[in-house]
C-alpha cells in the first residue's frame, strides 16, 4: 500500500508542474467553467471575528461586531478583450453571511477566457424588486432565513451590520444596528462597483479561478463618510445616513488576489 503512495507522489508533482507550465504558455482556453468569488470579511488589516475583542476606529469608537451579512448581485465579468459576460439576472442574487460561513459564491457556465475585472451590485435593484413574486423567486425565503428580509416593508436589507460599541461618551457596551436597504419607492440605495482583478482570472473547462475579495467592515461607518455610533447607534431608515452607509459599503471591497487552477485550493 505504502509503495503505491510512493509511486503516486511524484506523479502528482508532475501533474502540478505541468499545470503550472500550461499557464505560462498562454494556452487556448476553451469551453466554460466556474468562477468562485470568496468574500473575506475583515476589519482594517485584520480578519473579522464575530463577537471577538473590539477594534477601535478612527472616531475612537470601540466596536465588537456580531453580524455582518450583505447581498451581492448582478455579476458581470469583463475579459482581456473588453468583452462583458453578464451572469443571468435571475441567478445573480446572493446573501453572504459571516455568521453562517456562507462567504463564497460560485458563478457557473462562465465562457472560457481571461477575465480582468468584475462588476457587481450591493443589494437588490428596483427593477428586480418591481418584478414582484416572479422576480423574487426563492430569494425571499433565502433573505428571511439569513436576517436579510426587511419584512415591515416587504423588502430587503442590503446590509445587516450589528454588534456593540463603547466610546468616550458611551461607556457601557451598547448595541448598534446598521440595516441598509432601499426606502420603498422613495430612495434607491442599490449601488454597483467594478473592481480590477490585478491578475487575470483564467476560466476554461479545466480552470476554475477563485477571486478573493476583502470586505473591510470598518469602512461601513468609517469609510469615505464618517458615521458616529455615539451620535446614532441604530441606523435604518435615515434619509441622510443610509445613503452614506450605502456609499461606504460600495467602497469596502477590494480584490486581494486571484487563484488560478482547479478551484479546489484557496
Amino acid at each position: 500500500m505504502k509503495t503505491i503512495y510512493k509511486l503516486l507522489l511524484p506523479l502528482f508533482s508532475i501533474i502540478i508542474l505541468v499545470g503550472c507550465s500550461d499557464d505560462d504558455n498562454m494556452q487556448e482556453l476553451t469551453g466554460e467553467g466556474i468562477v468562485k468569488l470568496s468574500f473575506d470579511n475583515a476589519v482594517g488589516s485584520d480578519d473579522l471575528l464575530l463577537g471577538s475583542s473590539g477594534y477601535t476606529n478612527s472616531q475612537n469608537e470601540v466596536l465588537t461586531i456580531t453580524r455582518l451579512n450583505y447581498i451581492v448581485s448582478n455579476f458581470t465579468l469583463t475579459n482581456d478583450k473588453g468583452e462583458k459576460f453578464t451572469y443571468p439576472k435571475d441567478d445573480s442574487y446572493f446573501v453572504t453571511s459571516e455568521e453562517t460561513g456562507e462567504t463564497e459564491i460560485s458563478l457557473t457556465n462562465i465562457p472560457a477566457g481571461r477575465y480582468v475585472s468584475v462588476t457587481f451590485g450591493i443589494g437588490v435593484d428596483q427593477e428586480k424588486y418591481l418584478q414582484g413574486a416572479e422576480g423574487q423567486g426563492t430569494f425571499l425565503a433565502k433573505a428571511e432565513a439569513t436576517n436579510m428580509m426587511w419584512a415591515w416593508q416587504a423588502g430587503y436589507k442590503f446590509l445587516n451590520f450589528e454588534g456593540t460599541f463603547t466610546s468616550q461618551s458611551v461607556t457601557e457596551p451598547t448595541n448598534f444596528k446598521v440595516h441598509m436597504g432601499s426606502h420603498g419607492s422613495s430612495l434607491d440605495n442599490y449601488k454597483e462597483v467594478t473592481l480590477n482583478l490585478g491578475t487575470e482570472a483564467l476560466v476554461s473547462d479545466e480552470m476554475t479561478p477563485i477571486i478573493h475579495l476583502v470586505a473591510d467592515a470598518n469602512a461601513i461607518l468609517d469609510g469615505a463618510n464618517k458615521l458616529s455610533l455615539s451620535e446614532q447607534a441604530v441606523i435604518m431608515v435615515s434619509e441622510e445616513k443610509s445613503p452614506k452607509v450605502a456609499a461606504n459599503v460600495s467602497g469596502m471591497f477590494t480584490v486581494d488576489h486571484v487563484h488560478n487552477g482547479t478551484g479546489d485550493t484557496h
Binding site: Q136, Q153, A154
Partner: protein, 347 residues
Amino acid sequence: MKFLYSILMLGVFMSCSNDDEYASFAENEQLAFTVPKNFPEMVYDIESNPPTKFGFELGKKLFYDGKLSSNGFISCGFCHEQRFAFTHHGHQFSHGVNDLSGTRNTPSVANMAFLNEFSWDGATSHLDLFPIIPITNEVEMGETMTGVMTKIQADREYQRAFEAAFEEGGVSTENFLKALSQFMVMMISSNSKYDKYIRGEDGVQFTEKEAYGLDVFNEKCASCHATDLFTDSSFRNNGLPPNPSLNDLGRAEVSGKASDNYKFKVPSLRNVALTAPYMHDGRFGSLESVLNFYTRGMVDSPTLDETLRNGEELGIPLDDEEKEGLLAFLQTLTDDTFINDKRFSEY
C-alpha cells in the same frame, strides 16, 4: 362505538374523495379580466401573473386561512371583511395575534391592480409583496414567511391546489404570493351607482343632490381623490392633528425624510360609506366628522399639503348645503355587487 367509528371513517373517506376533485393543471384556465371603461390604466403586470381559475381559488383559500398567522386564527379576511368593502368594521385599529393592537386602520382591498403604492405609508410598491407585511407584523399575523410555507407545504390539500394552479414550483413562496395577487387583482369594485351613472348604464340617474355633490367633489376634493379610483396615489399631510400617544410619521417611516412627516397615502373613496372608521388612525366614526374636520379641524405644520392652505385659513371651506351634497354623492360610491360578490366571499 363501532358505529361512531364508521361515521368517522366515512368522514375521512369523504375528505379524501374531495381531494381527488382537485383538478390538474391541464384543466386550469385563464380568467377573463376586463378593465372597467371609466378606470385609468392598470398598474399590475398581469402578463407575468395572469389570474387563472385555480390560482384565484387558491388565493381565496389563502386569504381566508388562519394558518397564515402564528396562532392559526387571524386570516387576511379577519381584518378585511367583505361586507365592509374588506375593511375591519368597528375597529379603529386592526388587532391581530395575542390580542395585540396595531396603530393603523385597515384599508379596503379593492381595485388593487390599479394602485402602485400599498399600505398607508407606501412601505411596498408591489402588490405581490404586500402580504409579507401583515403576515410578518408581530401585532397583525405574527408569522414568518418560512413558518407559513412550512405549514402549507405539509398540507396535502394545498399541495394539490398549488399543483393545479401553477405549472412550476408547487408550494413555493413565489406561487403563494402570486395566488394571493390573483385573488386581489380580480377584486374590482366598479359597479356602484356612480359608475353606472358615469358610464351611462341602465339609465341610472343622479338625484339633484347627488349631482350637486359630484360638482362640489370635482371642485374641492378631486385634485387628491383623483380619477375614478378616487386617489392620485400620492402621500400627503392633510392637517390631521397627530395623535401624541402614537406620533405616527407616516410616509417618513419609509422614506426617512423629514419632509414626509405625517404624510399618508390618499385613500380611495370607493365604498367609503361602508368603511368607517376614517383616516389612517381611524379616529373619525362618520363621514360627517370627516367633512367637519376638513372645514375646520386642521392643524398647521411644515409638511401640511399646500392645497389645503386657503389664504390665511386652513382647510376646505364647505357650507352645510355642500356637505349634504357631498354626503349624498359619497353614498353613490357604494358597490353592492362587489360586497355581495360570491366569488370573493368566505362562505
